[in-house]
Amino acid sequence: MVKLCQEGRLENFAHLYDHYLPKIYGFIYYRTKHKETAEDLTSIIFGKALRQINKYDSAKGTFSAWLYKIARNTLIDERRAKRENIDISNIDISEGIDYEQKADQNLRIEKVKKFLDSLTPEQREVVLLRVWDDLPYREIAEIVGKNEANCKMIFSRAIAKIRADGSLALLTLIFLNGK
């Protein structure tokens, strides 16, 4: 499909759009928690992808990773324009949750937030790309500009940090009490 687009048959971009819209929209929404921002940035991302489709080189990586890179850079640009912290994995995962109805989960979520806050920006980004965006390490590596083994190491060390902080022991207690 990508090859057809690069040959000038750009009507095939519609198929790429259909396939990647939920993934790219999700990527933005998980990090902004704001519908209008997600829509605006998704529009920009697909517009860029369409205009730059001939710049994609399959020898250098997958189309999926190339598209996510555009998404990542677009989000960084948006944060910079707003003079926000450019660590794009800095999110408030408890934003928007109905605390009254899910009061029993607040403490758990607070602990997970603490866990994510304790990570380096690099670790946080890899963890979110793996767990929330469900991307394989190969693509994560292309997106963040590292090699695959490095990304696995980063993820492993991030997970291992839970024990080191002792927060997992606390979490386990909470889970056992919550069941």
Binding site: E7, G8, R9, L10, E11, F13, A14, Y17, D18, L21, P22, Y25, G26, Y29, Y30, K33, K35, A38, E39, T42, S43, F46, G47, L50, R51, I93, S94, G96, Q105, R108, I109, V112, F115, V127, R130, V131, W132, D134, Y137, A149, K152, M153, F155, S156, I159, A160, I162, R163, L168, L171, T172, F175
Partner: protein, 471 residues
């Protein structure tokens, strides 16, 4: 979720086997992380609008079908002898070669200058809808609904209705101030027609004593069971295939009373699913080498089912004998629509009783020229036209008022006919399609269509000029 967690953990263990001892802890943290992932629902109208905008942004790709022979001068010397031999053979075999083709198959769009098609005035009423299958036993499938108002043929209550259109969508844009209009090139091949005429010996008089130089219509056929007729219109560049009705079984042929007609009527349970109907159409195309270049995936036109579902007495509700399949023309990534906002292109009628293709209409090579024309960008005017029922709409006055609610429009293309000097020009023009919201409305009308090309709109809906108050 468990599968996802297992995958993540297995990847981790490949890197660090030591982590396996902490599996229950890791499983819980991953579960919480996944449960806390924000949920989202992509707005359908946003998704549709963005897709339309992207398709309109891209550049049209023009296929170059010309083949250029490139000779290597060294090769000419090397192969000169071979070429000479081939040329000699060609001289003796030229009379055995097939004649020039009537049409060049394939899909092509070429660029013309701005407003190259002249004035776009919809001077005359277009011919009867070409979406109806023609000929045969007269059993036709007719699509329901569309952009116009007025009394619906398929109104379940058969009483006069006055439609009141109300826009309930979001703010929208018409897009760029100039947008492409596409004109189909009919490509009559005069070599083919003059060649055909020269070979024709009437036997009753000397045809060559006349200056016969045009062929307007040819009808040829198969005189056999389940045979077909082929109606070829070289001037218009279209071909229609119809059943040779005298060679197809007709269950009503011997009927003399209503009971016989009722007994032989097609029932809704006789209709196979859409996939089966489409397969019959596609198999027919494959068997006879019919190309679908330039067309999108086919769909079955099931609009008649809306009226059927709403009918209180199903035994009186109309069930077509022929299922209509449409292979939509594709322009600029969009499926081209008709003035009712329904897909239009190559039409195939599939007989329900026979399970065979009965007719194929609007077979033509898709050759288009595109030219930019000014577009109406005043959204207030476009909304006002939509709330009157759209392009070429009419509304019965004094009937039962039915409110038709309109959703946010999406951009697409519609096919219209412009008549210049008695000759129809087939055009595909940009348009806004306002989908109808709610089942109540959709039983009458599917969409309201508003073309964007200014000349077409001004001809049908002249803008109101506010006169300045005289002091």
């Amino acid at each position: 979720m468990e599968n996802k967690i297992n995958k993540i953990l297995n990847d981790l263990y490949e890197y660090d086997k030591g982590l396996k001892s902490r599996e229950s802890e890791l499983r819980e943290i991953l579960r919480i992380m996944l449960e806390s992932r924000p949920e989202f629902q992509i707005d359908d109208s946003f998704a549709r609008r963005l897709k339309n905008d992207l398709m309109l942004q891209r550049t049209e790709g023009v296929l170059d079908i010309k083949r250029v022979l490139q000779f290597n001068m060294n090769q000419i010397y090397k192969w000169g002898g071979v070429f000479a031999t081939v040329a000699l053979i060609a001289v003796f075999t030229v009379n055995l070669l097939p004649g020039p083709k009537l049409y060049q198959s394939g899909y092509e769009v070429s660029q013309a200058g701005k407003e190259a098609f002249g004035e776009l005035k919809m001077n005359n009423t277009p011919p009867a809808s070409r979406s109806q299958s023609g000929g045969g036993s007269g059993e036709m499938a007719i699509g329901l609904g569309g952009g116009g108002g007025g009394t619906s043929v398929f109104s379940p209550t058969f009483e006069p209705i006055t439609f009141k259109y109300v826009y309930q969508g979001e703010e929208f844009s018409a897009g760029e101030p100039e947008q492409a209009v596409y004109k189909r090139i009919k490509q009559p091949n005069t070599k083919w027609t003059s060649g055909l005429i020269k070979k024709l010996d009437i036997g009753l008089f000397d045809l060559s004593s006349f200056d016969v130089n045009t062929v307007q219509y040819i009808n040829i056929g198969e005189d056999k069971e389940y045979g077909y007729f082929f109606a070829i219109n070289p001037t218009e560049g279209t071909i229609t295939i119809n059943e040779n009705w005298s060679k197809w079984p007709d269950p009503f042929k011997e009927c003399r009373d209503q009971a016989c007609f009722d007994q032989n009527k097609v029932k809704i349970s006789d209709h196979p699913d859409d996939a089966t109907i489409i397969k019959i159409a596609k198999d027919f195309f494959a068997q006879h080498g019919l190309s679908t270049d330039g067309y999108s995936e086919p769909v079955v036109m099931n609009e008649w089912r809306t009226a059927y579902e709403l009918a209180t007495d199903k035994s009186m509700a109309w069930v077509p004998d022929v299922a209509q399949v449409v292979f939509p023309i594709k322009i600029n990534g969009f499926d081209v629509l008709d003035e009712r906002g329904l897909k239009t292109g190559l039409y195939v009628g599939v007989g329900i009783r026979s399970g065979r293709v009965k007719n194929v209409s609007e077979i033509s090579a898709l050759r288009f020229e595109r030219s930019d024309y000014a577009v109406e960008t005043d959204t207030a005017r476009l909304k006002a036209i939509a709330e009157k029922g759209g392009f070429r709409s009419y509304n019965f006055e004094g009937g039962k008022v039915v409110q038709i609610n309109l959703d946010s429009p999406f951009r697409s293309y519609i096919r219209v006919w412009n008549y210049k000097n008695e000759t129809p020009q087939e055009l595909v023009v940009p348009a806004l399609i306002f989908p109808v919201k709610g089942e109540l409305g959709r039983q009458y009308v599917q969409n309201v269509v508003v073309p964007l090309t200014k000349q077409i709109l001004d001809e049908q809906e002249p803008p109101i000029t506010i006169m300045e108050r005289a002091n």
